[in-house]
Structures are given as structure tokens and as C-alpha cells.
């Protein structure tokens, strides 16, 4: 039992240690509004990480999410800016996310091309296309309904947290208790066996990438409403942060294994460090070093476990 959840436990402990350190060194970290800020900071990564978890469990990977993220948020903002009703703008953004995911899915599932190469390509394409299109100009003067969904700040922050939590719970349960979720595990564990068992692995893979696109778009919106402007670089390096969080959370890059609960902890841990360092008045230039160390330690932990059995 403990062995089964070893990764979740060890990462969870690491997180508790960090929080303990904060409680001890700078209790002000735990003020309600700081926690809300923290949540808002983590939420987009979490939603994207849910998608990435599915993708990695299917034994694929998607490094184009950063670009998709930027593009979707930007499109939503542009439309809203042009006076399109905000919900419609958000809807369209999600649609675009789905489309871009579908493109990846099409190339990967039906043509059986390696996902890492395909998404590497689409990543560059979307990113550069956006830069070319708007030369990096942010979208300002957005309608009232955009910022915090037109709510006041605190409500907006809570809504963000709740939406993310709901998405997380929905997927967490589906992955365990819904046949569709198990089909994803099966496909990632053994493609051919899945085919013989009557699971349609191509379809599963395709759908997973579409979901990835949708979740990325959703994440980008959750991120866009935080500020009064939307920048075309909002998704830079997102893929690395998310993949790191997912593997720290114990999802096997070899597919077929991993649980969303671990991912939640992973996202929380990596997402908190930056803010924590500021509260600990640490020399922030060592932030990346700490991140890297944590990732390596976390993944080492279950390597040790493997060698034990």
C-alpha cells in the first residue's frame, strides 16, 4: 500500500516540510488573501497538468501546450476587445484549443507519428505565428465581463479555484471509475493489446489530445482573467513546468501508470516554491536550482523503490 503510493507520500511530505518551514519562518504566508493569490497562481498550471497527465498516461507527450495556451488566451482577448460577448469569446478560445489539439491528435493517432516530434513542430509554429501576427502587442482595454469574469476580485479568485478543483475532481474520478478513463490507461500500457480488446486506441489517443487542447485553453482563460491585459507570451515555457509537475507527481513517462492526486501535489509543490522563496527572503536567483533539485530528488525516490523490489 505504502509502496503503491510512495511517490504521492514522499512528494506530499516534501510539500508539508516546505509549508512547515514557511509557518515557522514567515507565518504571514498563510494570510487568507495570500493563499488566494497562491491558488490563482497555481490554478492554470493545474488544469493544464490534468490534460498532460492524460497525454502522458497514453504514452504520448505534448510540448505544444505553451503555444496553444498563449494563442487561445490571445484570441479570446482579441474577440472580447472587438466587442464579442465575453462568454462567446471564451467559448471560441476553447474551440480553438480543441482544434489545435485535434490537429496534434490527427497527426499522432492516425498517421502514427511520434508525438514529441509532432508537438515540437506545432509548438514552434503556433508560437512564431503569433509573434509574427501581432509582434507581441498585448490586448488592453478589455470589457468589464473579462477581468475576473466580471466579478469582484475575491469572488473571482474563489471562482478560479473552484473551477479548477471541479475539473480536477471530475477527471480524477473519471480516470479511476469510468471505463473511458481506464481505456486511456489501457491504451498507454499496451497499444496492440488495447486494439485486440476492442478498445479503439487511435480514437482514444485522438480524444486525449483534443482534451489536452480544451484543458489548455481553459487554463489559459483562467490565467487571462487575472490581469487587465492579455499578453501573447502568457504560455512561455508552460510545457516544461507542467511536464515537470506531472512527473514529479509520479506519472510514468512510459505510459499506463500514474494518478492525478499525485499530479495535484506535484503542481502545488513546484507552484509554491517561487512564492515561498520570496517569503523566506531567499536569494531568488537560486530558484531554478531548487526546482531542478526537487524534480531530480522526487523522481529518484521511486527509482530507489524499484531497486528495492
Amino acid at each position: 500500500m505504502i509502496r503503491k503510493y510512495l511517490r504521492e507520500i514522499s512528494v506530499g511530505v516534501a510539500y508539508l516540510v516546505l509549508l512547515g518551514l514557511l509557518a515557522f519562518k514567515s507565518p504571514s504566508f498563510f494570510q487568507a488573501d495570500n493563499i488566494r493569490q497562491l491558488l490563482v497562481e497555481i490554478v492554470p498550471a493545474l488544469v493544464a497538468a490534468v490534460g498532460m497527465t492524460l497525454v502522458i498516461i497514453t504514452r504520448q507527450i505534448d510540448i505544444s501546450i505553451g503555444s496553444v495556451f498563449s494563442l487561445c488566451a490571445y484570441i479570446a482577448a482579441l474577440m472580447a476587445h472587438q466587442g464579442v460577448p465575453v462568454p462567446l469569446a471564451f467559448g471560441t478560445a476553447i474551440g480553438c484549443g480543441a482544434l489545435m489539439g485535434a490537429l496534434n491528435g490527427l497527426l499522432i493517432a492516425t498517421l502514427a507519428l511520434p508525438s514529441i516530434v509532432v508537438t515540437l513542430a506545432t509548438m514552434v509554429i503556433w508560437q512564431q505565428a503569433l509573434a509574427w501576427w501581432k509582434q507581441g502587442a498585448p490586448v488592453a482595454s478589455l470589457p468589464a465581463g473579462f477581468h475576473w469574469f466580471g466579478l469582484n476580485q475575491m469572488a473571482g479568485q474563489w471562482i478560479e479555484a473552484i473551477i479548477a478543483l471541479l475539473i480536477f475532481l471530475a477527471f480524477a474520478t473519471a480516470m479511476r471509475y469510468l471505463a473511458a478513463g481506464r481505456a486511456i490507461y489501457a491504451t498507454g500500457s499496451d497499444y496492440e493489446a488495447a486494439r485486440l480488446a476492442g478498445i479503439r486506441p487511435k480514437l482514444v489517443t485522438f480524444n486525449v489530445f483534443v482534451l489536452m487542447g480544451i484543458l489548455t485553453a481553459a487554463a489559459s482563460i483562467l490565467n487571462a482573467v487575472i490581469m487587465e491585459k492579455v499578453y501573447p507570451t502568457s504560455g512561455d515555457k508552460l510545457e516544461l513546468r507542467v511536464i515537470a509537475a506531472v512527473v514529479v507527481g509520479g506519472v510514468a513517462i512510459s505510459g499506463g501508470r500514474g494518478r492525478l492526486i499525485g499530479v495535484l501535489i506535484g503542481v502545488a509543490l513546484l507552484g509554491t516554491i517561487g512564492r515561498a522563496l520570496i517569503f523566506l527572503h531567499a536569494r531568488s536567483e537560486w530558484g531554478a536550482t531548487i526546482q531542478g533539485t526537487i524534480i531530480l530528488l522526487a523522481v529518484s525516490s521511486d527509482a530507489l523503490d524499484r531497486s528495492r523490489r
Binding site: A137, M227, I278, F279
Partner: protein, 314 residues
């Protein structure tokens, strides 16, 4: 053969070709510079090529310049990201008979003909720190958010700020120093954390054009009216926050004019009208601009605040 190539690409015939390199495309500040440059190019009928790194990385600028040397342009005008780095290739350009101008940030002086000088790192550092001190009444804590820890000019600027701090303001304390990697969302998160983590911080100084509005946004959302923001940025992007009183001052020169002037100087240089010893240059709508040695002076950094910020639309 080269002539043919030239005529192919430009039916006008012998048209002056100016290559202009920003530090980083997609940075609001440089977008503003480009506005002015295009305007001037329009007026003067020169061919302006505008290209540069999409992310601040030293070698990229060198590559752009290298290729333009191959392509053969008349003038190369660079906003220098890495002084030592770019100088080697600028010298090469001059050997090849290409006129070289630096703007916005200077290279080593022997590597270029003229520097369109709107401000030196020292100048910027000073006016930033002085303005900050003014807002803080010369005492209290403040925090610094810079664009990146690796870009040469950033390092120079933050160094200048600190130098000024130690030299003139003993009662002011720098309590936090972050780098936002030119990413607005990071600036936002860092600012909001800084405010929470340092209850009696009085001011945040953001030396990063894309980072400044988010900083103000964070301060505003924190509801701490006693915390103020100043920094390097473009007026339009910060106007709202300035009016709301969050942002006290935006330090900058008129970057549209900077681009505009650069192109004028470049054309003059290319046509030999800008010879050593000139004391002034006629720069279209800017009128006569003073020249000291090999520095074309746009004038010292400019302070945008409530009173004047709305007069600028860039």
C-alpha cells in the same frame, strides 16, 4: 550582379537600406521605437529592415548583423543587448564599409560611427533611484523587479540603481530583488508576493517594460494604497495606473522619437551628410538635434506622470 539584385528588390533604384535591430521583438518599448522608425522611413523613402531576436539572447543579435553584412545594407542600427558581444561583429560590418549606428544602448565606441544617446545606464539608474527616493521621501523599504538576470543592459541598469542607492540614500533599503524573465504574469505574481512578504515595503521599481503594468496591477489588487510603483515603461501601457495613483512615474524617453531620430541619422550618415565634427543634425519633425562628439543627444530620460502622460500615444 549586386546592382541587379538591388534593382530587383527595389525598383526605385539606389535606395538607402537601413537594418535596424531591437534588443527583443515584441517588447512594447521597441514596438514604440519601430513606430517612429517606420514613420521616418516613410518620409525619407528609405528601405527599413526591422529584425531581431524574439527572445533576449546575445548570439541572436550577432547573427542578424552577420547576415545583413552578407546581404549588404547601407546602415546597421543596433539597440545593443550585449556590449562586448555585438562589438566584434559591428567592427566587422565597418570593415566591410557599412555604416554603424547604435541606439538605445551603446556598444564599445570604436565599433560604431554614432550613438543615438537617449540615456546612459548611469543616467537611467540615477533618475530611477532619484524618483523612487522622491516618492519614498528618502526613507523606507523598496523592492526591485528586473526583466532578466542575464541580459547585459539589465545588469548594468540594476547596478546603476544600487550604486546611486548606496551613494545617496542611506535610509532606503532594497528588500527584495526578482527577475520576471520579461514575462508579465511572473512580474504580477512576484509583485503580489513581495507586497505580502514585506509588509512595510513602500515602493516597487520595475525595470521591464512588459513587467510594469502587471506590477501596478498586482499592487492595485493587493488594495495597498500606500505601495507605489515606478519603473521603465511606455506611457500608454501605464496611463491608467498612473491616473489611479498606483504608478507614480514612468521613466522613459520618447521612444517613438528615438526610432524616428535613428532613421534620420542613419540616412544622413549613409549619404555622407553626417560627417565627423558635425554639431547638429536636422531630424524632420524633431527639428535640430544636438550632437556631442559621436553622440546624437535625444535628451535625458523623461518622466511621465499624471500631468503629461496622456500627451503620448505609444
Amino acid at each position: 550582379k549586386k546592382e541587379q539584385a538591388a534593382t530587383v528588390s527595389s525598383p526605385v533604384g539606389k535606395q538607402v537600406v537601413i537594418g535596424m535591430v531591437p534588443k527583443s521583438k515584441g517588447d512594447e518599448y521597441f514596438i514604440a521605437c519601430r513606430k517612429g522608425a517606420d514613420e521616418a522611413a516613410e518620409q525619407l523613402g528609405v528601405k527599413l529592415i526591422w529584425d531581431g531576436p524574439t527572445e533576449p539572447e546575445a548570439a541572436r543579435q550577432n547573427e542578424v548583423v552577420d547576415d545583413w553584412i552578407t546581404r549588404g545594407v547601407d546602415v546597421i542600427a543596433v539597440s545593443v543587448e550585449n556590449k562586448a558581444g555585438i562589438s566584434t561583429v559591428l567592427r566587422k560590418a565597418r570593415e566591410k564599409g557599412i555604416k554603424v549606428i547604435t541606439w538605445d544602448a551603446d556598444s564599445e565606441s570604436d565599433a560604431r560611427d554614432y550613438f543615438i544617446n537617449q540615456a546612459t545606464p548611469e543616467g537611467i539608474g540615477q533618475s530611477l533611484m532619484d524618483n523612487a527616493a522622491g516618492v519614498m521621501q528618502n526613507k523606507g523599504e523598496f523592492a526591485l523587479i528586473m526583466a532578466s538576470r542575464t541580459a547585459g543592459n539589465m545588469i548594468a541598469w540594476s547596478a546603476a540603481v544600487k550604486a546611486r542607492l548606496t551613494e545617496k540614500y542611506p535610509d532606503i533599503k532594497l528588500v527584495a530583488e526578482e527577475a520576471c524573465e520579461d514575462r508579465p504574469i511572473l512580474a504580477f505574481n512576484q509583485a503580489s508576493a513581495i507586497i505580502k512578504a514585506n509588509p512595510n515595503v513602500k515602493l516597487i521599481m520595475t525595470i521591464c517594460a512588459p513587467g510594469m503594468p502587471p506590477t501596478a496591477e498586482a499592487v492595485k489588487q493587493s488594495g495597498r494604497t500606500d505601495v507605489k510603483v515606478i519603473g521603465l515603461g511606455t506611457p500608454k501601457a501605464n496611463a491608467t495606473y498612473v491616473h489611479e495613483g498606483v504608478t507614480q512615474a514612468v521613466i522613459l524617453w520618447n521612444s517613438v522619437d528615438l526610432g524616428y531620430l535613428t532613421v534620420h541619422a542613419a540616412k544622413a550618415l549613409a549619404e555622407g551628410r553626417l560627417k565627423v565634427g558635425e554639431t547638429s543634425i536636422d531630424a524632420g519633425r524633431l527639428g535640430k538635434i544636438e550632437i556631442k562628439g559621436d553622440n546624437v543627444l535625444l535628451g535625458s530620460p523623461f518622466r511621465f506622470d499624471k500631468t503629461n502622460i496622456d500627451q503620448f500615444n505609444f
